[in-house]
Symmetry: C2
Subunit: 256 residues, 2 copies
């Protein structure tokens, strides 16, 4: 998966130090299998996108179940929870899960619903905001998705979150400072308020340059088509001076 | 100045918790008198802007002189430095400064160039990034501009910066952590890279929704006109599903 790692690296570097040209915001949760599949499809689209070096990617917070307990394990197995949700038998639920596992495998993902221990994700989202600031957000998002769906790591336990966060290079002290405070609560809430304003009820949801919305894990061809369209329509910065030029400061001097 | 305080408060609150509808980014320095005057003119425009509650304001970093020493005091008085820059007499320079002081007074500002101790502003910009994260950026920007131009406070001394930052409510520990590390260096550089990409050579420079650029301290009528224009032209979020709907997760369940 060399190109994926490279693509990720490229995005991150751009988000922090380079010039932003096309902004992609993705509302997503770390307990959302379609989000993980959608992430791979987006990455495949991005790898083929001509202007991938000028894309700024930001993962936005979305809690599928804000009232989720620390762990949903007491609600039964994944298949039991699906069965209860859809009013079908556990066997039927297992067939649906197997289908999703197969779809994910086609994107190179190894989803282990038998191991999954999903729970509340609020603190995971707060850490994703810390990671954004450090230019490590995509790394942490990938790490958390893999932890949830492949490794059966709990999504709300601080020790597990701490381990994932430091594995991608976040400073231990800052991770602890976030986990033991309410830092980034407002950032998570702000992302969720924006999602409501957009009318987003399901994730993943991609917003390209604040203009195009893509709902769900669309095939990479479809995503690429929208990236191309958004790029070609990027509005240039228009200098407007309705009443002539105005004074400013330049270099070490000011027009005085 | 009740309405100004209210306008500022409103901006800040929106930037953090509410839904963002019109983004205004202002490239500015804290040693730039036209930036301070432009800030007042922008605030006056904003106070009259019908959709002011849906504006997100972000102050972007711009160092007028990245190579500036901690203090420029050794380069002479403000008038002497202006005289040397423009090749005029100190008396002529003083006339120019007096004119600017008068212009600022018309915006309610008390510029004291006789007291000013401008110097390097890199660390001030790093603190403005910390303040952005805490929803206190506009407060700190105002505090720093007033400190530089009205109170004669040095722009680079850590003790002075620390005092200003904590006065607006930033946590002491985090302020110290920034000042004693290289945190937010990349954020400052990223803002400056974006300024270069836009071709910005002087400040203040306002970018409305990434589409309209306003150079210099334009009169508030002109700014208001552009805010109205940008608002009326805001692109709606268009849902694009070129290949039909795609699976997503919603609430506590996923389309499996």
């Amino acid at each position: 998966m060399g190109w994926r790692a490279r693509a990720r690296k490229r995005i991150i570097t751009d988000a922090v130090v380079a010039v932003v040209s096309l902004k992609v915001e993705v509302w997503s949760d770390v307990v959302c299998p379609w989000c993980y599949i959608g992430k791979r499809r987006f990455e495949a689209a991005l790898a083929r996108f001509e202007h991938r070096d000028e894309v700024e990617l930001v993962w936005r917070s979305f809690e599928l179940d804000p009232s989720a307990p620390p762990s949903s394990a007491e609600r039964g197995t994944y298949a039991e929870r699906i069965a209860s949700k859809y009013g079908c038998s556990v066997t039927e639920a297992q067939v649906m899960i197997d289908n999703m596992t197969l779809t994910a495998a086609q994107e190179g993902l190894d989803l282990r619903f038998d191991l999954a221990r999903p729970g509340n994700t609020f603190d995971a989202h707060r850490l994703l905001h810390l990671a954004l600031e450090h230019g490590l957000q995509d790394e942490l998002k990938e790490r958390l998705d893999a932890a949830t769906f492949t490794e059966g790591s709990p999504t709300s336990e601080h020790s597990a979150l701490r381990a994932r966060a430091t594995q991608v290079g976040l400073p231990e002290g800052e991770v602890d400072a976030v986990l033991t405070s309410d830092r980034y609560c407002e950032a998570v809430r702000s992302d969720e308020a924006q999602a409501r304003a957009y009318g987003i009820s399901g994730v993943p949801f991609f917003v390209i340059d604040g203009r195009y919305g893509i709902s769900g894990a669309q095939p990479s061809d479809a995503v690429l088509q929208i990236l191309d369209k958004a790029w070609s329509e990027r509005p240039p910065l228009t200098l407007v001076t309705p009443q002539g030029s105005a004074p400013s400061c330049e270099g070490d001097s000011c027009a005085v």
